[in-house]
């Protein structure tokens, strides 16, 4: 106690102790209020950051999954590029598609009875479903070859309706083939660019 009194005796010592004490108290108060967190981050702040990072990682994983799904779909779509008619790449559908069908018939030695005009129906902006009717009467072999050539040709033709029956039930000689062919025309700029330019 006497030592303490001796220390506290000089005025400058008392002032120094007062200043140190005040600064210490202020530091403790600021510390408790969290005002010093940026200077010395506490456990709570660090845990909060870790929690936020985990949340963000979850969001990132979800976005990555979405991106993977989109990429898978785009890759599949890109691999089927030839299945679609892209005017920029394939020309005018109204004339060029007829040529493709006739070419398939020629290769199969099939005589087409009729080949209808191309009609279109809108699926969406930039997407058209093209439709044409077709009929033939020929041998089973030529008909099968024609179907095969048509299968190999581009664009991919879908049979909306297909009827195959013998020309005479009692004494059949030929096969009558009639139906509606459909194909998809892609005129949307982004999709067309994607299909013609490959993967983006």
């Amino acid at each position: 106690m006497a030592e303490l009194k001796k220390i506290l005796e000089p005025r400058k010592n008392r002032i120094a102790i007062l200043i140190v004490g005040t600064v210490s108290i202020l530091l403790i108060v600021f510390w408790q209020m969290g005002a010093l967190d940026s200077f010395w981050p506490g456990k709570e702040l660090l845990d909060k950051e870790v929690t936020e990072i985990k949340k963000l990682q979850g969001t990132l994983q979800k976005e990555l999954n979405d991106a993977a799904v989109l990429k898978h779909r785009r890759d599949l779509f890109a691999s089927q590029s030839k299945d679609y008619w892209v005017p920029l790449r394939d020309g005018k559908a109204e004339t060029e598609v007829h040529k493709a069908v006739e070419q398939a018939a020629r290769l199969a030695n099939l005589k087409l009875s009729s080949l209808g005009d191309i009609r279109n129906s809108k699926i969406n902006d930039g997407l058209l479903m093209m439709d044409l009717s077709i009929s033939s009467t020929d041998s089973m072999e030529n008909t099968a070859r024609f179907l095969s050539e048509l299968y190999r040709s581009s664009p991919r033709f879908y049979w909306q309706r297909c009827t195959i029956r013998p020309d005479n039930l009692r004494e059949p000689k030929n096969i009558v083939l009639s139906g509606n062919l459909k194909f998809v025309l892609v005129s949307d700029e982004q999709s067309a660019a994607f299909l013609t330019g490959g993967k983006k």
């Binding site: 969406n124 095969s148 049979w159 909306q160």
Partner: protein
Amino acid sequence: MLLFSSAEAVALTWDRHGKVCGLRLQKRGGIMSIGNAACCNPAEGEPLSVSLAKVWEKLSPEPESSLLLGGYLPSAVCIEFLMPKLPQAELSNAIAYELPRRLPTPLENLEWHYRITGEICKNGVSFWSCRVFAVQARDWMHMISEIDAAKLQPDMIVSPFMAAQLDGESVSLPGIEDFFEMVHSARGDTLPQMVSSPQAPSAPSITASQEEKYAKLPGWQLLENSLPSDERAKAFVFFHPALLLAEYGLRDCFRRDLKMAIPLPEKFRPLRSKGLKVACLFLSVSALILFMSYTGRAWWDARSRFAALRAEKKNISRQIKKIVEENTKNKQLDLTIKNIYGANPGNPEILQCLHYLSQNIPDGMWVIDFNSTNEKIEMTIKTSGEASDTEFSALAQTPFFSTENIRKRRNSDGSTDIFIRLLYANSKEGEPAAAPPLPPASTGGPKNG
């Protein structure tokens, strides 16, 4: 608190009348100052030990202060002579050999010690200038008992003459040594000698330079204040011996001279616990350094971790933003793709379908009509006889079709028409319908009459 160096020396002196003067002399930053002073005139018949104890109490010195005692001893004498430069042990023996030639008392009856005051070169040979203090053993023992009674623990008991740094001046100590003074020639070419004082005992000689030197000391006023008003004019005279001793106690040579001093009883040894204090300070400093290191490291780790977490958060946010932007950009194309896949334009796999049917329709049956509309296939199969449902089980078992309906009609000619409705089973939403495996050569067709 003075921990490690005797930056404070306390000197107590007494004169032949038992008047005790004491002062604390402090040295900080090379500057000496008087910390406190006290004086005690003994009451009639009061022993010296009481006065010593009173003055000591008034001074209230630091425990670490060096304590030097000195004063009137009837048989004390100081002499100075040259000795060859010898090692300490040999020098002691040489002085012991020399002393009987210079003092009338046998060495056995003396307590003595010496200090080397300087080095003098004479005719090209260096000598130690040794100042010797000697006192008769009985006087010494009497003084020891007085000091013991005062419960003091001095570092050294010595005559103030031994402490004097003469530098060509003479020193007289009235009251302690009235009839002798220490004389040193102004040129400094001879050794100081204790000679009989030409002045009267009551008229001490004080040189102007000595007074000037001490009067400049901070705290000089304390000396005067410690004296009764009628004695204040003689403050320097009373305190001069104590000033000499205290100043000596603060000089570097004091620690060295302690080794040669007359040994004091063991119980006088001051208990300063310097080792413990050094260890305490060392441990405190080590603890402080460790604490600071730990705190610094903890702070650095927290800051680094916080910075790393912030950077990681920023990085993930940037990645999310980039992927979201990319996904948003691709959403339009994806919508188009979905629309295309969802358009359901019809069945592209007629050829494979026909091939599959030709392989799986039982023998003896003919397809007489084949109709495919979108995902649905309607067939009419003709057979000459009866047809059981098991014969069409192959169609139902394939993963590519599901049999929606089978209907039979018996004709009048004994034949049977079978109407079958099949559905493509594997069309998946969002993607085009998968087809049965493509045959190696696509030349087959339905069995047909």
